[in-house]
C-alpha cells in the first residue's frame, strides 16, 4: 500500500471525526441560535452554557431502548439508518480543504481524493442518501413513515435534478468536474475596472447559487422543506418508529449532510479555501458556517411548504430558471471563447 | 492471473445478463421484472465498457451512455405504465395483465 493512499486514509479518518464532532455541536448551536431567535435561552444546564448538552444527548440516545415494531421489515429496518449514516459523510471525500501540506516529510494532500468526476460523485452520493429514508419509512410498517419515505423519494429526485443542473453553469465556466480544479480557478482574481474581485462563481452564477441553495435545503430535507419528517403531519415521518441509537443515525446523517453540503456550496460558489488574506481551511470553515447559520435561520423563520407547493416550486419555477441559466451560461461561454 | 483478463468482465456481463433474464422469466411481479430488465441493461453496459477498456476505445463508453439514457426513458415510461396499471387494475401481477391476448 503506497504512501499516498495511506495518507488519504488517514486524512479521511480525520475528516470523518471532525465531521462527527462538528455535527454534535451543530445541534447545540442550532438550539442556541433558535432559542436566541425565539427569545429563549436554549440548553444551559449541562455544562457551561449547556456546552455538554450534545454529549448528554448522545449518551441518552445510546442507552435508550432499541424498539423494533412487530410488523416491521426487520432487516431493512436495521439497514436503513446505517445506510443513511454511512453515506452522509462519504460525500465529503472530494472536498478540498486546502493545498497539500508537508507532514513528517510526506506531502499530504488536504483532500481525501481529487477525482475528475468529483461533482458527479457528490451528486451520486447525495442521491444514494435518500435510500436510507425511503427504506426506513418503508420498513417501519407505519403509514406515516411510509408517507414520509415516499415524500422523501419524490422530493429528493426532483431536487436532485435542480441541484445537478444548477451546477452545470459552474461546470461550463470552469470546464472541469474536479473540485480542486474549480477551487483553483476561483482563487484567481477578477479585475473589472477599478474593482478587484475574487473569481468566485457566486459572482458569475448568482442565479445558480440561489437555486443551489434552495435545492440544497430540499435535498437535506431541512425546514422549510422537511416534508418527509413534518412532525405536525406525519409525526416525525420516516423516523417515527425509530428510537434510540437508530434514530440518532438518521439524526446524525441529516446534520452531516447539512455540513457536507455547506462545505460543498462554499467550495463551488464561494471559492473554498480562497480568502482575502492567507488562504486556508479556516476560510472554508467560515463560509460553511455562514451556510449552516442560514439553514438554522431558515428553520426558524419560514413555515413549512405544502407538498404540492414543494413539487410545484421544483418543476415549475426552479427547473425553467435553471435551464435558462444553463442556456445563458452556454452562450456566454461560447461568446467568451469567440465561437459565436 | 496477474492482470485483469477481458474474459472476466465478459463472464460478469454474461452472468448478470442471464440472471436478469432468468428473473424476467420466473418472476411475476411486474416491478421485479422491471428491475431485472434494468439489470440486463446494466450487464450490457459492462460489456460495452469492458470492450472499450480492452481495445482502448471510447465508442463502448459512449454507447453505454446512450444505453443509460434510453434506460432512463424506458424506466419513466415503464413506471408510468405500471402506475396506470395499478390504478386501473389494482394489480402488478404480470400474469393478470393479458390484454394482448385478446
Amino acid at each position: 500500500m503506497d504512501a499516498n493512499l495511506l495518507s488519504s486514509y488517514i486524512f479521511a479518518v480525520i475528516v470523518l471525526n471532525v465531521l462527527l464532532g462538528l455535527m454534535a455541536y451543530m445541534t447545540y448551536i442550532e438550539r442556541k441560535v433558535m432559542a436566541a431567535m425565539q427569545d429563549r435561552i436554549g440548553p444551559n444546564r449541562t455544562g457551561p452554557v449547556g456546552l455538554l448538552q450534545p454529549i448528554a444527548d448522545g449518551l441518552k440516545l445510546l442507552v435508550k431502548e432499541d424498539i423494533i415494531p412487530k410488523h416491521a421489515d426487520r432487516r431493512i429496518f436495521l439497514l436503513a439508518p446505517l445506510l443513511s449514516f454511512v453515506l452522509a459523510p462519504v460525500a465529503a471525500a472530494v472536498i478540498p480543504f486546502g493545498d497539500s501540506i508537508t507532514v513528517f516529510g510526506h506531502e499530504v494532500n488536504l483532500y481525501v481524493a481529487d477525482i475528475n468526476v468529483a461533482v458527479l460523485y457528490f451528486l451520486a452520493i447525495g442521491s444514494m442518501g435518500v435510500f436510507g429514508i425511503i427504506l426506513g419509512g418503508y420498513a417501519s410498517a407505519n403509514r406515516y413513515s411510509l408517507l414520509g419515505g415516499l415524500r422523501a423519494a419524490a422530493q429528493v429526485i426532483s431536487y436532485e435534478i435542480i441541484l445537478g443542473l444548477s451546477l452545470i453553469g459552474v461546470i461550463i465556466l470552469s470546464g472541469s468536474l474536479s473540485l480542486v480544479e474549480i477551487v483553483n480557478q476561483q482563487s484567481e482574481t477578477l479585475t473589472i475596472g477599478p474593482l478587484q474581485l475574487p473569481n468566485w462563481f457566486i459572482l458569475s452564477q448568482p442565479l445558480a447559487f440561489i437555486i443551489f441553495l434552495i435545492a440544497a435545503v430540499a435535498e437535506t430535507n431541512r425546514a422549510p422543506f422537511d416534508l418527509p419528517e413534518a412532525e405536525t403531519e406525519l409525526i416525525g415521518g420516516f423516523h417515527t418508529e425509530y428510537s434510540g441509537f437508530r434514530f440518532s443515525f438518521f439524526f446524525l446523517a441529516e446534520y452531516i449532510s447539512m455540513i457536507v453540503i455547506s462545505l460543498f456550496a462554499a467550495t463551488i460558489f464561494l471559492g473554498g479555501t480562497d480568502g482575502p488574506i492567507q488562504d486556508g481551511v479556516w476560510w472554508l470553515a467560515l463560509k460553511a458556517c455562514i451556510f449552516l447559520f442560514f439553514y438554522i435561520w431558515l428553520r426558524t423563520t419560514v413555515p413549512r411548504f405544502r407538498y404540492d407547493q414543494l413539487m410545484g416550486l421544483a418543476w415549475k419555477v426552479l427547473l425553467p430558471l435553471v435551464l435558462i441559466n444553463i442556456l445563458l451560461t452556454g452562450f456566454i461561454r461560447l461568446w467568451g471563447l469567440g465561437m459565436l | 492471473m496477474n492482470e485483469l483478463m477481458p474474459e472476466q468482465f465478459m463472464f460478469l456481463s454474461a452472468a448478470l445478463f442471464i440472471i436478469g433474464m432468468v428473473g424476467v422469466l420466473t418472476r411475476r411481479n411486474v416491478l421485479v421484472i422491471f428491475m431485472c430488465v434494468e439489470l440486463m441493461l446494466a450487464s450490457v453496459n459492462i460489456a460495452f465498457v469492458g470492450f472499450a477498456w480492452e481495445f482502448s476505445q471510447m465508442t463502448g463508453q459512449i454507447f453505454a451512455l446512450f444505453v443509460i439514457a434510453i434506460a432512463a426513458a424506458e424506466a419513466v415510461i415503464g413506471l408510468g405504465i405500471i402506475m396506470a396499471l395499478t390504478r386501473q387494475r389494482d394489480t402488478v401481477d404480470i400474469n393478470e395483465v393479458r390484454e394482448l391476448r385478446q
Binding site: 458527479l120 | 474474459e7 428491475m35 463508453q61 432512463a72 415510461i77 395499478t86
Partner: protein, 239 residues
C-alpha cells in the same frame, strides 16, 4: 497487479450474488435493495475499467433515480397485491433456469473461444490523460461524432417525459372503476374519518372506506379535497 484482479473478482462476486439475491428475494423491496448493491458494484467495476464518468452516471441515474422511482412505485402498490415469487407455474421456473443455463453455457463457450479481431484504439490510459481525462474525451467525442445520436436520444427522453405525463394524468373521462381502492395523496394523509363524504374525489369514486384500508392518496392539488361553499351549493341544486 494482483490487487486489481482481486478487487475485480470481489466486486464481481458481490454483484453476482446480489443479483441472484435480487431475483430470489420474496419481497420486492428486498430485491430492489439487492439491485442497488449490484449497481453500486457495477459502478465500481466501471471505475476499474476506466469509465469514471459512466460510473457516476450509473449511480446517479440507475441507483439514484431509477431505483428510487421503482421503490416509490413499489411502496405505492398495496403489498397485499404483490404476487409471490413462485408463480404457481413451476414449469416456468424450470424452463427459465434451464434456458438461462443453456444460454450461459453458450455464451461461455463463445467467450472462451473468441478470437480478438479489433485493433487497439488511441484511448488507452495515456491517451485519455493527454486529452484531459475521461469526461473530456467523452464530451468531445459525443459532441463531434455522435451529435445525431445524442439529438435522437434527447428526443427519446423528451418523448418519454411527455409520455410519462400522459400516463400519469388522472383519467378524466373514464368512469372510476369500483374496484379501485387506493385514492390518496401524499400530502393529505389525514383522512377525515366520518367526513369522507366531503372529499369529492372519494365521493366521485363511490368509495366507502373501511377502517383497515390503506389510503395512499395521489392528488394533483390539495384543493381537490376541499369543496367550496359555491360548489356545494351547485351540487345541492343539481341533485
Amino acid at each position: 497487479m494482483a490487487a486489481e484482479v482481486l478487487i475485480f473478482n470481489l466486486l464481481s462476486a458481490v454483484a453476482i450474488v446480489s443479483a441472484v439475491a435480487m431475483i430470489t428475494m420474496r419481497n420486492p423491496v428486498h430485491s430492489a435493495i439487492a439491485l442497488v448493491l449490484t449497481f453500486v458494484n457495477v459502478a465500481a467495476i466501471f471505475i476499474m475499467l476506466r469509465a469514471e464518468f459512466l460510473a457516476a452516471v450509473q449511480i446517479i441515474v440507475y441507483t439514484g433515480a431509477v431505483l428510487v422511482l421503482i421503490l416509490f412505485v413499489l411502496m405505492l402498490v398495496n403489498p397485499d397485491d404483490l404476487p409471490e415469487f413462485h408463480s404457481g407455474k413451476p414449469m416456468q421456473n424450470v424452463f427459465g433456469f434451464g434456458v438461462g443455463l443453456i444460454l450461459l453455457a453458450e455464451i461461455s463457450v463463445a467467450i472462451l473461444t473468441r478470437t480478438v479481431v479489433a485493433e487497439p484504439g488511441p484511448w488507452n490510459e495515456e491517451g485519455v490523460a493527454a486529452a484531459g481525462g475521461n469526461i473530456q474525451v467523452i464530451g468531445q467525442l459525443l459532441y463531434s461524432g455522435y451529435v445525431l445520436p445524442i439529438q435522437a436520444t434527447a428526443l427519446v427522453l423528451l418523448a418519454a417525459t411527455i409520455g410519462a405525463l400522459f400516463l400519469g394524468r388522472p383519467d378524466e373521462d373514464q368512469e372510476p372503476s369500483p374496484k379501485r381502492r387506493t385514492v390518496a395523496t401524499i400530502s393529505l394523509a389525514h383522512t377525515r374519518g366520518a367526513d369522507d363524504d366531503l372529499i369529492p374525489a372519494l365521493r366521485a369514486a363511490n368509495i366507502k372506506r373501511e377502517a383497515g384500508d390503506r389510503d395512499l392518496i395521489m392528488a394533483r392539488d390539495a384543493d381537490e379535497f376541499t369543496t367550496s361553499a359555491e360548489e356545494e351549493e351547485k351540487k345541492g341544486q343539481s341533485e
